[in-house]
Amino acid sequence: MTDGRSRRQVLKAAVAAGGAASLSACLDAIGEESVDRPTGTDDLSTLPNRQFAWDDVVRHDEYGNEQLPRHQILLYLTLERDGQPTDADRRQVERAFGSLNRAFEWSHEGVVWSVAYSPAYFDRYDESLPEDIDCPPPHSLSPFEQPTFDEQDMLVHLASDHADAVIAAEEALRGNRESANGVEFDASLSGVASLASDADRRTGFVGSGMPADRQSDLEGVPDDGPVPDASPLFMGFKAGFAQNQATEDRVTIRSGPFADGTTKHVARIRQRLDDWYGEQNFAERVAEMFSPEHADEGWVEGIGENLGDNSRVDETLDTIREQASESGRVGHAQKAARANRDEDGSVKLLRRHFESTDENVASLHFPSLQREMSSFDAVRAAMNGTDLTEATPVIRQRVNNGILEYIFVANRGNWLVPPLSKRALPRPR
């Protein structure tokens, strides 16, 4: 297990499979006896109260774009008992979370993570969430989707640059191991919250080289392996340029019991890229991902590295209809951006999506953070481009209409991320 290729093969499959055997295989592959990553702290006051404050502790590229941790796990947990959680449940959950903070440094070298709760979870209580919390149950966000709604109770999101770290963190948190990274856990979530089905454990990855590495024999990606080696995402372009992302401040709930929290939408989206790569040339892909103007002006080279920290999409909004009529296409980014700006021009959504090969299908886990969930709904409505289909028949419901032809929404869930101080089974008030 020492040559680079087989090591990569093991690491590729490990997070997706999870469990003790994967962890062992993972450690074998990197030539370690046990997980050996930076450990954390038992002083919670040294950690941000904003669970989503990852920006200061993850890598950035040379342009200042946030580089999300390479390996990620989403655990959609269901409470094991009906009704309201007890104070004993809360203490157990907080001890489990505190153990995770002790076990791993709060960074991409250790584990960054968060826990969020669904509107269905808060329905367990007699009182409702405060009026000013905008986080309704999930619903359909386009005229052509019929997703499964994720209404489990809790969403634990683990992320690290190291596969062994996220797998060990998950195993200890779920009670399958007593320690992780050499640190004993005082408690686990077991007995309070668990996975109701295998489909509630979802995994993924993001980063240069990772999609290309995983594209062979993958349902949804053409057999000839078209994903560029450098691309962090299956569709062949960078995304999440710093200037086109909300700041963590902008997505933070400012007051009330959930101050320092945020709302989190997570969609699971299947990608079908045969025609994306097989029927379109590079310029056409640029036109559909960014805008026809990007394609005409040659603004995008390769995966878009040359764009630096700004997709330039704001320059293409005023003439979107003209571009659509003239080129017969409209760009995904330009459509969405129309609804993603405050009056002062600042961006509302902080998107942290990553890729997945769960069930051997090329897919995307799409977490988006925003102060109000309605901001997300509005951006998705703009992305549907229904107004543009009415302007010209060349733009159809899902053809020539950004990337809608190539993505299939399988799941949607809405979540409230409480501040760290209320992260263990919070009450609605």
Partner: protein, 344 residues
């Protein structure tokens, strides 16, 4: 195979070219005749006529779905005024076609988004947005060439998007929501190869069309017969399509206003298939602008507007051709139009 490569190859994907595909299991019909060089810029009789078979039907609310299949086909996508040929890929086993219609009026819904997901034992083997297409036998339907995973039983989920096209009359407030139905498909290459397939060298290229198919229970995308439309004022022909023009004293239910309603109902020659997803402009009296794409339970799919003081005649100018893919025999028609004058 990239569709552009095919185009550069001069479009002659005949038996000789196919003989070079040394698949162990040939999934191709025994070579399609090349596309005719001197095709008319109009509807023409294709080089071959292939049979199709009903896979099954499904329903969801008011929606009815029909699923059919045939041999893989070449077809032409349309973007604006450009056509791009899609050839038969080496992995294609079938051309799979879905039709969606209203359970009450049996009218085909021509102008929405549709996707097909084909699973075998729960695993996805095909999932695509399939394009609206025009064929001489079916009119508007939704179709794609698909590769399958050998003989066996497949679950085909047909998913239709809610329509954003204006809906009037008995369609007002309906068909705005998505729906889907799953239809079982027992596929075998043997059964597929048993579908009829006729080469038509004697008629190919003639200005004519293959007769529409006649299937019980399943409508074709035919426009309402001229005689059944209310208050027809006249018609004109351009781009090999016929444009029937009529007026109503007041617009159909679902459209505000009480003035004259002008409607234009375009259709193919010979078979009277609906031509959806166009931009049609009109000028009469004080009105000069785009007509609205509309699906009405009486007028069918048409282009219409309220006009407060129509003149003695109307000028009808299609500016964007039907944005539907074309099966062979339709790919050179309905692409370029001249203004037409019809007396009112």
């Amino acid at each position: 195979m990239n569709r552009r490569t095919l185009l550069q190859a001069g479009g002659a994907l005949g038996a000789a070219a196919l003989a070079g595909c040394s698949n162990l299991i040939s999934t191709q019909p025994a070579g399609n005749p090349p596309v005719i060089d001197d095709r008319p810029a109009a509807v023409y009789y294709p080089t071959h006529v292939e049979g199709m078979d009903m896979v099954g039907m499904g329903e969801s609310g008011d929606y009815r779905f029909g699923l059919m299949y045939s041999y893989p086909h070449r077809f032409w996508n349309v973007t604006g005024t450009e056509t791009t040929r899609t050839g038969i890929g080496s992995g294609d086993d079938v051309h799979i076609m879905a039709s969606v219609w209203d359970s009450e009026t049996m009218q085909v819904l021509p102008d929405t988004g549709l996707s097909l997901t084909i699973r075998r034992d729960g695993d996805i083997v095909f999932e695509e947005v399939v394009y609206p297409m025009l064929s001489q036998r079916m009119g508007t339907h939704y179709g794609a060439n698909a590769g399958l995973d050998g003989d066996g039983t497949y679950e085909v989920t047909v998913s239709v998007g809610g329509m954003s096209t204006r809906r009037t009359g008995a369609f007002e407030g309906r068909f705005g929501e998505p729906a889907s139905a799953t239809i079982e498909f027992d596929y075998s290459q043997g059964a597929r190869d048993g579908l009829s397939r006729e080469l038509t060298p004697d008629r190919a290229g003639e200005r004519a069309a293959v007769d529409p198919m006649d299937m019980e229970m399943m409508p074709t995308g035919t426009a309402p017969a001229r005689d059944s439309l209310p208050n027809v004022r006249g018609s004109a022909t351009s781009g090999d399509a016929e444009f029937v023009v009529g007026t109503l004293d007041s617009p159909p239910a679902g459209i505000d206003g009480s003035d004259t309603y002008l409607y234009v109902s375009p259709r193919t020659p010979y078979n009277q298939m609906t031509l959806p997803a166009m931009t049609v402009e009109a000028a009469t009296g004080g009105f000069d602008g785009e007509l609205t794409r509309t699906l009405d339970s009486e007028l069918g799919y048409h282009y219409g507007t309220v006009v407060d003081s129509p003149g003695d005649s109307v000028t009808v100018t299609p500016t964007v051709p039907p944005q539907t893919a074309r099966h062979e025999g339709y790919e050179t028609a309905f692409l370029a139009f001249d203004p037409m004058e019809v007396s009112l």
